[in-house]
């Protein structure tokens, strides 16, 4: 959904989340997925300046079933419910769903969340029972190994070094260190990056996102209602998806087609260009995902993304800051949901010492089996 008529008609008006770092330091099995979701929902509703009784739409993510949270949050007047399965790729899809729901009057105020307890559950992202392509009989395990294969291919086609790739996690770590609640607070230099162990060579530990517990929730409503609420509205300029379902996960063209298609959906109706984007808050499951999106969306020339990210360009203070709260590599693996929360803070001007000056537009992408993207902006631009 990104047509001119829809653009900017809906808004994110509340954000809330759990204490990622606290729970990482001190894992607590009593903080279940339902408990974390409830905390995030309460915070998002309060942030919006709404009463709980006004929430009439619910989109759940990360949990086996919507009901335990629906009861715990005492929602009593709900007109619209959607239950998303646990999968990192769903954030843009859930936002698309929430926005269309309020735009078409299926609900007035939709609360949507993602809640995960990967750490306390001991979730392994390695060996699936079999994989889609008989993966495990060949010892093929983990999404990271799939992205690693993509990177060997990328290097064969375009060159580039592992040290160059390290600029992405290093920049993102520097942002986490400015973010209260971000899990990884220790400084990381390029030498620290290169000294980290290989997981699926050529990708290293620090190319991988975190595995942790937490929840993030938003409240979405129409832009018109948003203007009466607590904060300046953050408008949903558009959402997009483009999936080419293939069992080997990593797109053979590094998601170029998906990115071009989503960019056209998001940018063209509005006349927005890459020059307009003030920061990127993107799905950094693995460092290479950021690289491929930069090229696919046309921020970096094709095949030159590794050179492009050097010399502070993607760090705060640089030309295009990426994942200003530390992303999933260093803040929290909330699967795109912490990125959108940070986008909201940036567009409200609430990002404190991380604030990107004059932040008008923030772009999200997720390059996965189900690619999605979203474009958010300040009020008054559409």
């Amino acid at each position: 959904m990104s047509d001119r008529e829809f653009a900017g008609k809906t808004a994110i008006v509340g954000i809330g989340g759990s204490d990622f770092a606290g729970l990482y330091r001190t894992p607590d099995p009593e903080r279940t997925g339902e408990s974390l979701a409830t905390e995030a929902i309460a915070a998002a509703i309060a942030d919006a300046g709404l009463e709980k009784s006004q929430i009439d739409g619910l989109i759940t993510g990360g949990l086996p079933h919507y009901e335990p949270v629906a009861y715990r949050t005492g929602l009593t007047d709900v007109r619209f419910v959607v239950d998303y399965p646990q999968a990192g790729r769903m954030c843009a899809m859930a936002l698309m769903h929430a926005a269309t729901a309020v735009h078409h009057g299926l609900a007035d105020y939709v609360v949507l969340f993602n809640s995960v307890v990967f750490r306390t559950q001991g979730t392994k992202f390695g060996a699936q029972p079999q994989g889609l392509l008989y993966d495990t009989i060949y010892g093929m395990a983990s999404p990271g190994a799939q992205y690693s294969m993509g990177f060997t291919r990328y290097q064969a086609e375009y060159g580039g070094t592992e040290e160059q790739l390290g600029a992405i996690p290093v920049a993102i770590r520097s942002h986490a260190r400015m973010t209260p609640g971000a899990i990884m607070q220790q400084e990381m230099t390029i030498n620290d990056y290169l000294a980290s162990r290989y997981i699926a060579e050529p990708l290293r530990l620090f190319d991988y996102c975190l595995v942790n517990d937490g929840a993030v929730a938003y409240v979405v409503t129409t832009a018109e209602r948003a203007r009466d609420l607590a904060h300046p509205p953050v408008l949903i300029a558009g959402t997009a998806g483009r999936a080419n379902f293939r069992e080997w996960y990593v797109d053979l063209g590094f998601w170029d087609e998906a990115c071009r298609s989503m960019k056209a959906d998001l940018f063209d109706p509005l006349g927005v260009t890459t020059e307009d984007i003030d920061c990127l808050q993107v799905y950094d499951n693995f460092s290479v995902s950021v690289l491929w999106g930069l090229e696919g969306f046309g921020f970096a020339p094709k095949g030159q993304g590794l050179e492009w990210v050097q010399n502070g360009r993607i760090a705060l203070g640089g030309e295009l800051p990426i994942n200003t709260s530390g992303g999933m590599l260093s803040e929290s693996y909330l699967q795109g949901w912490n990125q959108h929360a940070e986008a909201v803070r940036q567009l409200r001007g609430q990002a404190d010492k991380r604030q990107v000056p004059d932040c008008d537009w923030s772009l999200y992408w997720c390059l996965s089996a189900l690619p999605g993207a979203s474009l958010l902006c300040r009020d008054g631009l559409l």
């Binding site: 060996a127 029972p129 994989g131 392509l133 495990t136 010892g139 294969m149 290989y198 990593v250």
Partner: protein
């Protein structure tokens, strides 16, 4: 060629969709599903054609030839029974017929593996029932 006794690594769960594929592999034949309606060749062996959705599935003998699209060297012990083999390679092979398959390259050092390398299939009997298809450089 491999030890039939005590194969401990993961084995496929044979289903109604891929029974014929594994039966052929056991005879050291590499077959791929082929749509009798539209001619599409696919993998893994779903019962229906992902191109035209026909259930009229036949089989075609694969040449066994392909090229390495990408590879990774696994360093982390995700699968306990693979741990003694670390670091080992996994490759994504683009078959001459089109489909992509995961496998392992044999007969080559990990640091000599490269994208674009031409490879051919070979059969590795894991158990009496299951034969794995692996690849070696041509």
């Amino acid at each position: 060629m491999s030890d039939h006794v005590g194969y401990t690594k993961p084995l496929p769960t044979v289903t109604h969709e891929d029974r014929e594929f594994w039966a052929a592999a056991r005879e050291h034949r590499f077959v791929l599903p082929k749509c009798q309606a539209c001619g599409h060749v696919w993998f893994p062996p779903y019962a229906s054609c992902p191109a035209c959705l026909s259930f009229d599935r036949g089989w075609t003998e694969a040449s066994g030839r392909g090229t390495v699209w990408g590879f990774t060297i696994m360093r982390q012990p995700y699968i306990p029974t693979f741990e003694p083999e670390l670091p080992y390679n996994v490759v994504l092979v683009e078959l001459e017929e089109g489909p992509m398959v995961y496998s392992n390259l044999v007969g080559i050092d990990n640091d000599a593996i490269a994208c674009g390398l031409p490879v051919e299939a070979e059969f590795e009997d894991a158990t009496d029932e299951i034969t794995l298809i692996k690849f070696r450089p041509v």
